[in-house]
Symmetry: C2
Subunit: 294 residues, 2 copies
Amino acid sequence: MPVNLTEYMDHYITIIEQEIAKQLEKLEIPKPLKDSMLYSMNAGGKRLRPILLIASYEAFAVDYHKVLSSGVALEMIHTYSLIHDDLPAMDNDDYRRGKLTNHKVFDEATAILAGDALLTYSFEVIVNDPLLVDKQKIEIIKLLSKTSGPNGMVAGQILDMQAENSEVTLQELEKIHELKTGELIKFAIYTGAYLGNATKDQLQYLEEFAYYLGLIFQVQDDILDVTGDEQKLGKRIGSDEKSMKSTYPRLLGIDGAIELKQRYVARAKNALKKAKVEDSYLMDLTEHFSKRDH
Amino acid sequence: MPVNLTEYMDHYITIIEQEIAKQLEKLEIPKPLKDSMLYSMNAGGKRLRPILLIASYEAFAVDYHKVLSSGVALEMIHTYSLIHDDLPAMDNDDYRRGKLTNHKVFDEATAILAGDALLTYSFEVIVNDPLLVDKQKIEIIKLLSKTSGPNGMVAGQILDMQAENSEVTLQELEKIHELKTGELIKFAIYTGAYLGNATKDQLQYLEEFAYYLGLIFQVQDDILDVTGDEQKLGKRIGSDEKSMKSTYPRLLGIDGAIELKQRYVARAKNALKKAKVEDSYLMDLTEHFSKRDH
């Protein structure tokens, strides 16, 4: 069994990637569509969301198999959103994590369809999981559709586009990030705890935890765009500045952003204590998110 | 109560459109996203798929309320597929049903996101329907994700793009249409009958019916592109010819296509008889599909 966070993460990255391969390889579909889906699913993602989901589950229960389909579905939704965000009509990015984006390797039409397919397939994966009972599938699909749809991630992307080239307040910035990144993180934390049979009170504290964790993730993202190492990040730094994007460092300065992040870390850890899971890997993951360099 | 097919269809078009409005108006989301979703959902669709679903249900049961969420979800999926198909990277269409396409009224990014949002929201609508029990929701989501995802509609769109500017056989053509149009029609027919408590045998005959109905729909579409009235169709005719698309008239000639359609109509009606629902509106709808002029 893994003993420290790095081992823990490596251990589960392997397991998650095996499950991703299993779910995608079995698709008997036109080759360009499958290749395109596989390309982005294997383009160097850090699997942070499924790892969070597993860690949240393991704070309450054992045997991760029960959360594998949710983890893979979540990674598919995350990947679909990146494929569509990278399109010429959206952020028009040629590279992500140091690799060509989907529409640069294939073409725009295939990239759009690969995104559509991953989104739809994520629901298929959950609904066909033999380890979940109907009630659990319903609860997961309810949350997944809400967090990734017009009430969640898609709204975040629209607001993000609107915010470009305009001044937004700290409150507006947090709303964008809550929708665009935070909702999927909340799905990971909530679903893991729910399937692990956390109590109602614990679920509530974990939602609070997830809220701050999402913000930590985003503040650090913004900080790295100013101070990060291009090699490690696999992308150019300073791109937010160039696109006149509202970021924490722009609104608060670098020191202000770091200070805010520390405050969020304290609140996240406090929520874990209230949920009585301060001994879980969620604690280590909070530190990891706060200090990550890529 | 409606007495003939026209009244029947008008009756339910009103009810379906009220439900669409109800489901979309309640969304508290950024205005451009909501406007874009509403625009395409109200851009003159004939609501054929939800009507089929209701007619299939009413061949076995009463009280259409139970199938409304599935009907609206289906129309959302259909609409999302049209929005994405019309994009510059795909079919690059400026008009659909005589109206500007979504990306011409809004912009490409918003159109992509409106499609994503409608797709995701369709699952949310079903999973939150208080009139369905968990088992029914699961069965519907299982079928909806399969028919609209990489195994279904998305695969059809990829194959359709590959087939442009190349010769395909009649068999290949039918495979494309089965995936691209037929799968959603199968969903409509199957889900209606399933929720109406059809027997296993009846469900099987209805799947056969749906298969032929989908083909009738497509053959007629191809015939209209040669012989149709531009005013009624709301689009230019001859567009298939121009894009060198494989169609039934190109493969079989106009007379051959009409003859094939008649053969499919006979088979579809025969399947309805075997399912013992030859007195339902599904019979009239088969004729309607076969003879439609737009």
